[in-house]
C-alpha cells in the first residue's frame, strides 16, 4: 500500500486560534536580578524617577491610544506598553551623551530622552510643535540634541545607521557608546548581519539590542527565526547577553556593565532583552495569533507594578508619594493632549522645508 503523502509545511504553524488552555509562551523570561537598588548604586530618588518615567511612558501611550480611537490623528500607532523597563533602565545606565537609535516603536525612547509629553503628543497629532515638526509622526520621534537619533520605519534599516553613529564616535575618539535597539523581527534582516560583521571586524563601540517582545508583527518568534536570538552573536565572535526586560533593575544592571565594557575596549555587544508586547503590533491588529491566557500571564510580570511593589516594600517611597507622582504624570499627559489638540498644524510652506541642509532644490 502506498504511503499517505504528507502536505509540505514551511513556516511552523501557530495556535490556529484554538485555545485549548495551554499557554504557549512566546518568550521565556530569564531570572531578574536579586540585587537591591542600593547595591546597584541607585539612589532612592533615582528609583522614584525611574518609576515616574515608566509610568509616564505608559500613560502617554494609553492616552495616545484613546485619542487615536477618537479619530484625533491617523497613520500608524505602534505601542511600547509592557516594554517600558527597557528604555528606562537603559537611559539610566548610559551616559547622557551616549547615542540611542531605534525602530518605529519609539515613543518610550523619545520620552526617556527628552521629548516632552507635549512635543511627543503634538507629533502624533501631526502638529508643527511636534518633536519632528509633524513631519514624522508616531514612527519618527527624535531628539538629536539629547542624542536620541530617532525612530525608523523600515525593519532593520536603522541598524547600519547605528553602526555609522558608532563609527563616527570611534573616528572622533569621543568616548561615546551607541545603543541600537530593534525588535525581534529585525533579526531576520540581512542589514543586521552585515552590520554585526563590520562592527566586530572594525571594533565599533556599539551595543545592538533586540527587544524580543515575542512577536514579529503577528508571527511568534519561534515561527520566524531559528534558535536563540542572542546566539547569533557566536557566528561573529561577538560578546553577547540575554536578560529579563520586565525588570528595570535587571536592564539597568546589565546595560551599565555592558556599556562600560564597550566604552573601555571598543568591542561591540549583541544583546537580547526578553520582554512582552501587551498590545497588538499596531492599532489595527486583532491579535488572533495569541491566547488571552498568554497575555494575562505576562501582565502579571508587569514592570511598572513590579517596581511599585518594590518601592513600597523597601520603603523607598510611600504609596501616597507614588500616587502623587502618578497624579502629576496624569496631569502632564492630559495637558499634552490638550496642547496637541489645540496646537496649529504646520503651515503650507512647511511642505517644502527640512528637505535640504544646504541650498534647497525642487524639480518642477
Amino acid at each position: 500500500m502506498a504511503k499517505k503523502k504528507q502536505e509540505a509545511i514551511f513556516t511552523p504553524i501557530g495556535n490556529n486560534g484554538d485555545d485549548n488552555g495551554r499557554i504557549d509562551k512566546a518568550v521565556d523570561l530569564p531570572e531578574a536580578t536579586n540585587k537591591s537598588h542600593k547595591k546597584l548604586g541607585l539612589s532612592d530618588d533615582q528609583v522614584t524617577e525611574m518609576y515616574e518615567q515608566m509610568f509616564l511612558q505608559r500613560r502617554f501611550e494609553e492616552r495616545a491610544m484613546q485619542m487615536y480611537q477618537k479619530g484625533k490623528f491617523g497613520g500608524f500607532l505602534h505601542l511600547y506598553i509592557g516594554q517600558e523597563a527597557i528604555s528606562t533602565g537603559t537611559a539610566f545606565a548610559l551616559k547622557n551623551d551616549d547615542d540611542i537609535i531605534t525602530a518605529y516603536r519609539d515613543h518610550g525612547w523619545g520620552l526617556v530622552r527628552g521629548v516632552t509629553p507635549k512635543a511627543g503628543m503634538a507629533e502624533l497629532f501631526g502638529k508643527a510643535d511636534g518633536c519632528s515638526k509633524g513631519k514624522g509622526g508616531s514612527m519618527h520621534f527624535a531628539n538629536v540634541k539629547e542624542h536620541f537619533w530617532g525612530g525608523y520605519g523600515i525593519v532593520g534599516g536603522h541598524i547600519p545607521l547605528g553602526g555609522g553613529l558608532a563609527f563616527a564616535n570611534k573616528y572622533k575618539d569621543n568616548g561615546r557608546v551607541t545603543a541600537c535597539f530593534m525588535g525581534d523581527g529585525a533579526v531576520d534582516q540581512g542589514a543586521l548581519h552585515e552590520t554585526l560583521n563590520m562592527s566586530q571586524l572594525w571594533k565599533l563601540p556599539a551595543i545592538y539590542v533586540v527587544e524580543n517582545n515575542g512577536y514579529s508583527m503577528g508571527t511568534a518568534a519561534r515561527r520566524h527565526t531559528v534558535g536563540e536570538i542572542y546566539e547569533r552573536a557566536h557566528g561573529y565572535g561577538m560578546k553577547n547577553a540575554v536578560f529579563n526586560g520586565m525588570d528595570v533593575f535587571t536592564v539597568y544592571e546589565n546595560m551599565k556593565k555592558i556599556s562600560e565594557e564597550v566604552r573601555k575596549d571598543n568591542m561591540p555587544y549583541f544583546v537580547e532583552i526578553r520582554t512582552y508586547r501587551y498590545r497588538g503590533h499596531s492599532m489595527s491588529d486583532p491579535q488572533k495569533y495569541r491566547t488571552k491566557g498568554e497575555l494575562e500571564e505576562y501582565q502579571q510580570t508587569d514592570p511598572i507594578e513590579r517596581l511599585k511593589t518594590y518601592i513600597i516594600d523597601k520603603k523607598v517611597a510611600t504609596k501616597k508619594e507614588l500616587e502623587e507622582i502618578e497624579e502629576q504624570v496624569e496631569e502632564a499627559v492630559l495637558e499634552a493632549v490638550e496642547f496637541a489638540d489645540n496646537a496649529p498644524f504646520p503651515k503650507d510652506e512647511a511642505l517644502y522645508e527640512d528637505m535640504f541642509a544646504g541650498e534647497p532644490y525642487f524639480h518642477h
Binding site: G157, I159, P160, Y171
Partner: protein, 326 residues
Amino acid sequence: MAVLQFREALRQAIDEEMNNDEDVFIMGEEVAEYNGAYKVTEGLLDTYGFKRVIDTPISELGFAGIGVGAAMNGLRPIIEFMTFNFAVLALDQIINHASKARYMLGGQVSIPIVFRGPNASAGQLGATHSVAYDAMYAMFPGLKVIYPSEPGDAKGLLKSAIRDDDPVIFMESEQMYGLKGEVSDEKDFTIPIGKAKIKREGDDVTIVATGKMYHIAKQAAEQLAKDGIEAEIIDPRTIKPFDTEAVVKSVKKTNRCVVVDESHPFGGLASEVAFLIQREAFDYLDAPVQRVTLPDVNAPFSKPLFDLWLPDAKNIIEAVNSVTYR
C-alpha cells in the same frame, strides 16, 4: 591646464578635499590596500592611512548605511561602489534613509554624503552589470545626481559634491577612467552642481547628452558636420538639479532636439527632458523631440547583440535626420 585621466582627476578631487577636511573619509570595496578596483583611490591609503581610507567587505547595504549614520553624526563620507549596479543592494539606505531621514525628523539631522562609482554598461558584462541608474536616483526628492563626461568636469563637480551638505550620487564610467582631458590648475577649482555646459556650438539641432553618451554624441556631431548639419551639444553634467534653462535656450535657437540617454526608454532622463522642452519651448519646436535610448531589453553578452543594444553615433544621426526631416 593639466591633462589628466578621468581617474586622476577624481583622485585629485578626493585628495584635495580629504586634505582640506579631517571629517572626509573614503570607504568601499578594495579602496585601500588594493588601491581601488579602478585605481581611482590609488595612493590615498599611503597619504591618509587606514583610519580614513577603509576597505569594506562586500556588504553594500551595510557599509552604505554605516556611511549614512556616520554622516548624521558629523562626518563627511565618500562611499565608493564598485559599480552602481551593486548599489542596488544598498537602495534601502540610499533611498529610505539618506534621502529621507532629514525630512522625517523635521530637519534634526543633515547627511553630507557622496555615493560614487561607475554607472551603466562597461562592455560585455551581461545583464546585471550594465544598467544606467542616474534617472532612477533623480526621481527621489533630496538626492542630487551628477554624471560628468570629462575629467575637468569630474574634478570640479566631485569637489562640490564632497562639500555639499546633502546626499549626492556621483556617477562615473569604467570605460572613461582612462580618458584624458584638460583639468583646471586653478587652486580650489570647483564647478557648481546643476549647471549644464555647451560643449559644441551649432544652429541646426540640439543634442543633449552626458556621461559616456556625450562622447557618442560628439562623434555623431562630427559626422553630421561633414553633411553640413551643425549640432549644438549640451552636456547637463548634473542630472538633478537639471539645468532646464540651458537646454531650453539652445532649443529656442535650433528648434530641434535629440536627447541621448544611456538608460532604458520608460520614464528616464530622455522622457523628462522631452517633457520639459515641450512645456517650455513648445512654440519653438519644428519637429517632435526625439530620443536615443537603450531598447527595453536587458544587456546581452554576445558582441553583435551588445553592439545592437548600446546606442551609437549612427542611432544619433538617424534621430537627427528625423528631427531635421532629412
